[in-house]
């Protein structure tokens, strides 16, 4: 069957993003279940969460294909709290 131009290996981009989000979530859960802790682990988990957030903003919310102001609010929303949370964890370590 001929595939549309917006599909890779038969999957829509949003389906790939969905699979990535599910995988990253399981990785995050396993980190918690294994009892891994410490600054490096916490910052790694935070980074994973920010990447997931950016994927949702860009692909699910449809902001990734925009130009101008509306492309950035979700990215900024992830970036600023991400920096604040990361700073707080660094100071607590």
């Amino acid at each position: 069957m001929k595939q549309g131009p917006n599909k890779t290996l038969g999957l829509r981009p949003c389906s790939w993003v969905y699979l990535f989000l599910m995988s990253f979530t399981v990785v995050t859960f396993l980190i918690g279940q294994l009892g891994l802790s410490g600054l490096d682990v916490a910052l790694g988990v935070l980074l994973l969460a920010l990447i997931k957030g950016q994927l949702v903003g860009a692909y699910f919310m449809g902001l990734g294909s925009l130009r101008g102001f509306w492309r950035w609010p979700v990215f900024i929303w992830l970036f600023v709290p991400g920096i604040l949370i990361g700073t707080a964890f660094c100071l607590a370590a």
Binding site: M22, G32, V56, F60, I85, A88
Partner: protein, 195 residues
């Protein structure tokens, strides 16, 4: 003078859905961002307490809830894609599937709350539970709100109220639901995993 070139067709300047919902979404995101920052900086002063009580949370329930919300968000993406192709009946089915995932989230979270309240845990138990209960309940209310919006959109779609050319309502509801998902994607690792 350089020639004025047209923007690519897909590169729009405005997000999908009604612009008003995006103002609302940004306001909601700002509130959650303040909540997250407050949690992190309060934890800084009580690291041992936060780490101890975080271990008492049901991380498996949180995993189920995270997977449920991500799946529901994906279903909503498919609902929007369906209505853009004029497939109202598929749009309704995807929305109902998303609603079922939202219901699963509410059920699992309710069981968690029942467990906590059964143990006598409340907002004044300690700083950790104050943040945990307020943050998650605030989000819980947003899930309910999102489900009401999705149900209204599904009902209108079922009645033939949307088409391939006019489906702003579907995109508006979808945007709100993705915001609910987005917030939980930060809340889950912050409250349940990071220590």
């Amino acid at each position: 003078m350089p020639a004025i070139t047209a923007l690519p067709e897909q590169a729009n300047r405005y997000p999908p859905g009604d612009l008003a919902i995006w103002i609302f979404i940004l306001a909601e995101l700002l509130v959650f961002a303040l909540f997250f920052a407050a949690y992190a900086f309060t934890r800084m002063q009580h690291v041992a307490l936060f780490n101890e009580y975080q271990q008492q949370l049901d991380r498996r329930a949180a995993l189920i809830n995270t997977l449920a919300l991500i799946t529901s968000s994906y279903f909503v993406v498919r609902a929007v894609a369906a209505i853009r192709e004029g497939l109202s009946h598929y749009c309704v089915r995807w929305l109902l599937a998303a609603l079922s995932m939202g219901a699963l989230f509410l059920a699992v979270k309710s069981v968690e709350y029942a467990h906590h309240f059964g143990q006598g845990i409340n907002l004044s138990t300690n700083d950790f539970y104050m943040f945990y209960l307020s943050l998650t309940f605030f989000h819980f209310m947003h899930v309910i709100m999102g489900m009401v919006i999705l149900a209204a959109v599904a009902w209108k779609a079922y009645r033939g109220g949307y088409s391939a050319t006019e489906h702003t309502g579907v995109e508006t509801g979808a945007s709100y639901w993705h915001m609910v998902d987005l917030v939980w994607l930060i809340l889950f690792p912050l409250v349940y995993v990071m220590r």
